[in-house]
């Protein structure tokens, strides 16, 4: 098994119409290696292990540790950390859109802009925290924060993403609230997202992958803690569920109340167009609120040496739960979006199962788009199998 695990997806179809999907999800429970460490060691080592979405992972771990230790929350430092998590959501969305979406519509990727984007994380950390060290128990905000420099950096980041992703039409995108307005926005510009959305409309794939798996509702940490006291979290984190159901955990959860998305989902459910638009709305919405950010993306709860934290990560809600005994980690579980979404009965399975294409090539393309729209980070192997109709033979 590769270090990051393996996801095997087998899609049985009949002339391009999906019939059955099996997902074999084998991912390592890497967090187990943190058992036996002190909270300080945990917070030093966890970012080495989870360097992709590292800020969200490190922030969830820090919140859980503090909750377990009964330490107070430093409001200003947490506000800065949430800015770093938002920054990371932007980075993860934009660099994958820049590479993957351009591939789907045969455009060259703007790799110069994407390379510049990847450098912002270090720049923000250095500006906000002493030694750029943001997610340990002893991290300290810079004593004299240079707000002008911070504003300049935010403006620089906004300009970069507006230019490379929105074709300098971010403000127009932010004002969209109906499908007709989205149609105008698509037809009036040649930016990468407009090209991809136009392609989806052109192929009549707006509702591709629409399915009945719903977005996980907000659950507060105290309730999760209570529910999980009776649960084998090792098993649960492999195949998470809530109230005996599978749920979706993606950016769609966070954007579904946006007027544009509400309008689109009225027509296309949670199909391809809705998912792609949700990711774009998330990018646009974060950029719009970076300066006026108020802490909201993380929550936590602690009780008798157990700490639980929820953080909004790029691919969906991330949950960490740890138990401390005698100053060391006794149990650690991470419930990540991948396990919710690639659950055998989850949104990827159900979405793929509902794909209908005219050719096998189109089915393959739809499947690739749908999986990418749900989680572009996972490495998976997709096998399409033509299913021959079974013929009943009567004696």
């Amino acid at each position: 098994m590769a270090a990051g695990g393996e996801i095997d997806i087998r899609l049985a179809h009949h002339h391009g119409r999906a019939r059955r999907v099996n997902i074999d999800l084998r991912r390592p429970q890497a967090a187990r290696v943190l058992i036996g460490k002190t909270p300080e060691q945990l917070l030093e080592q966890l970012p080495l292990l989870f360097s992709v979405c590292g800020n969200a992972q490190a922030y969830a771990a820090l919140l859980a540790c503090r909750a377990a230790l009964g330490l107070p929350a430093p409001v200003e430092a947490d506000r800065a950390r949430e800015l770093l998590v938002d920054m990371e959501i932007l980075r993860e969305h934009v660099w994958r859109m820049g590479l993957d979406w351009s591939g789907f519509v045969d455009l060259p990727a703007d790799k110069t802009a994407l390379a510049a984007l990847l450098k912002f994380d270090t720049r923000f950390k250095q500006l906000l925290f002493e030694d750029g060290d943001a997610f340990t128990l002893h991290s300290r905000l810079r004593g004299e924060l240079d707000f002008n420099r911070l504003l300049q950096l935010i403006n620089e980041l906004t300009g970069l993403i507006d230019g490379c992703l929105f074709g300098n039409r971010l403000q127009q995108f932010l004002s969209l609230s109906s499908e007709a307005q989205l149609g105008d926005w698509i037809s009036q510009n040649s930016a990468l997202p407009a090209r991809l959305l136009a392609y989806v409309y052109h192929r009549d794939w707006e509702a591709a992958g629409n399915n009945a798996v719903m977005c996980l509702p907000a659950i507060n940490c105290e309730r999760l803690h209570a529910e999980w006291q009776q649960v084998d979290l090792g098993q649960f984190s492999r195949f998470p569920h809530w109230q005996n159901q599978c749920w979706e955990v993606t950016p769609l959860n966070r954007q579904c109340t946006h007027p544009l998305l509400a309008a689109l989902s009225g027509h296309y459910g949670n199909g391809l167009l809705v998912r792609l638009t949700a990711s774009l709305l998330e990018v646009a919405g974060i950029l719009d609120k970076l300066i006026s950010k108020t802490p909201a993306s993380g929550s936590h709860f602690g009780h008798e040496g157990v700490g639980l934290a929820q953080v909004a990560a790029a691919r969906g809600l991330l949950i960490h739960r740890l138990a401390l005994r005698h100053g060391r980690v006794y149990d650690y579980a991470i419930v990540a979006p991948t396990e919710w979404n690639f659950h055998p009965g989850g949104v990827v399975t159900q979405g793929l199962q509902n794909l209908r294409a005219d050719t096998v090539e189109d089915l393959q393309r739809q499947a690739a788009l749908l999986i990418n729209a749900i989680d572009p980070c996972v490495t998976y192997r997709l096998t399409l199998m033509e299913q021959v109709d079974e013929v009943e033979v009567h004696a």
């Binding site: 270090a3 989870f50 992709v52 390379a115 490495t379």
Partner: protein
């Protein structure tokens, strides 16, 4: 969530912007399009075929040791 192993650059291919790197003893081809100034011997974090950033040798060794401790590498 995804994991990214440190990879050590073993050969540069300047014409294509690619490099050969060693990840857990396995040779892989990596795009250097998103990072600057990478040399043979450097460690980079690789995700979906792209080097995302350079990391210093100490951090790479610590990271590899942690992956080995977690049983996520074939070569401890």
């Amino acid at each position: 969530m995804c994991l990214a192993l440190p990879a050590q650059i073993t050969k540069l291919h300047p014409d294509t912007g690619m490099a050969t790197a060693s990840v857990d003893g396995v040779k892989v081809e990596v795009s250097l399009a998103l990072v600057d100034d990478v040399q043979v011997g450097d460690y980079v974090l690789v995700h979906v075929g792209y080097a995302l950033n350079k990391i210093d040798e100490d951090e790479a060794i610590k990271t590899l040791a942690l992956f080995a401790e977690a049983g996520l590498m074939s070569t401890p």
